[in-house]
Symmetry: C2
Subunit: 129 residues, 2 copies
DNA sequence: TATTGACTTAGAGTAAACTTTAAGGATTAA
DNA sequence: TTAATCCTTAAAGTTTACTCTAAGTCAATA
């Protein structure tokens, strides 16, 4: 069992954000102590792991909420969930391919400017010498 | 020479956004027709290509503006520009590695849920038969 | 028992990057 | 010539995902 602060430290999400996520239906049914304090389980942490994974790869909180809601509806939503994840996976792959293209471009630019810089420094050197 | 609409179509940025970028100092010194209409050159398109590349890989407009300003200052800022681009390139590489990890996770989840779905469909089949 | 941490609702504030509106006038292409 | 496109300034609005504040109460820990 973890307090909200424990989970905040483990996930990097603030306590505010954890409560916000709960209110928005991203992480639901968090257990409570007799006194009403949130008590997160390892399962909750795992769920948060998936939530952060999806969020950090461009899925909106709204879509994640939808996915979580489907999960709670049980087995009959398995097909839809698989489709949702597959689609997201395709998006990720496309995004990564795009990133690779951009990386090539930036690499080229870095080399180009490095060469210009080298020439400039050399010129400066000669001017001084 | 391209009109603002031409450039909008070519880049996918709206005319509004192009004017906004100009105002913000991202794309500067765009030529004008005698009547005051913007006339973009191929050079402008190239510059926009780099701007979109940086933007789409997570650089903020503020940072891009800074880079553009350095460019206008001339050769003596070459070193800083190279450093800036190198740093951004490192960020991109780190981000891509992170994405790959997330992709592995999502791939695993897709397979896991697919298997669950398969088992579920089989169970349903048997129930019906 | 004192201090720290947690709880609630409700709403305001923030940042980035647009996006839209308004209002009126000028230019360009067919 | 006429319809479509462009110009300006200035400001308000939008979206997402938080982030913070307030105000008051309750719980847990040393």
């Amino acid at each position: 069992m973890y307090s909200i602060q424990d989970v905040s430290k483990k996930t990097g999400l603030s306590a505010h954000t954890l409560r916000f996520y709960e209110k928005e239906g991203l992480l639901t049914h968090v257990e409570r102590s007799p006194g009403g304090f949130r008590q997160y389980t390892d399962e909750d942490l795992e769920a948060l792991g998936l939530i952060c994974c999806l969020k950090n790869t461009g899925m909106s909180l709204q879509e994640i909420t939808r996915f979580v809601a489907l999960t709670h509806e049980g087995e009959q939503t398995l097909k839809e969930r698989v489709e949702l994840l597959r689609k997201h996976r395709e998006n990720m792959i496309a995004r990564m391919a795009e990133m690779q293209k951009y990386l090539d471009k930036v690499t080229w630019k870095v080399n180009f400017f490095s060469e210009k810089l080298r020439a400039y420094e050399e010129k400066k050197q000669k001017g001084e010498g």
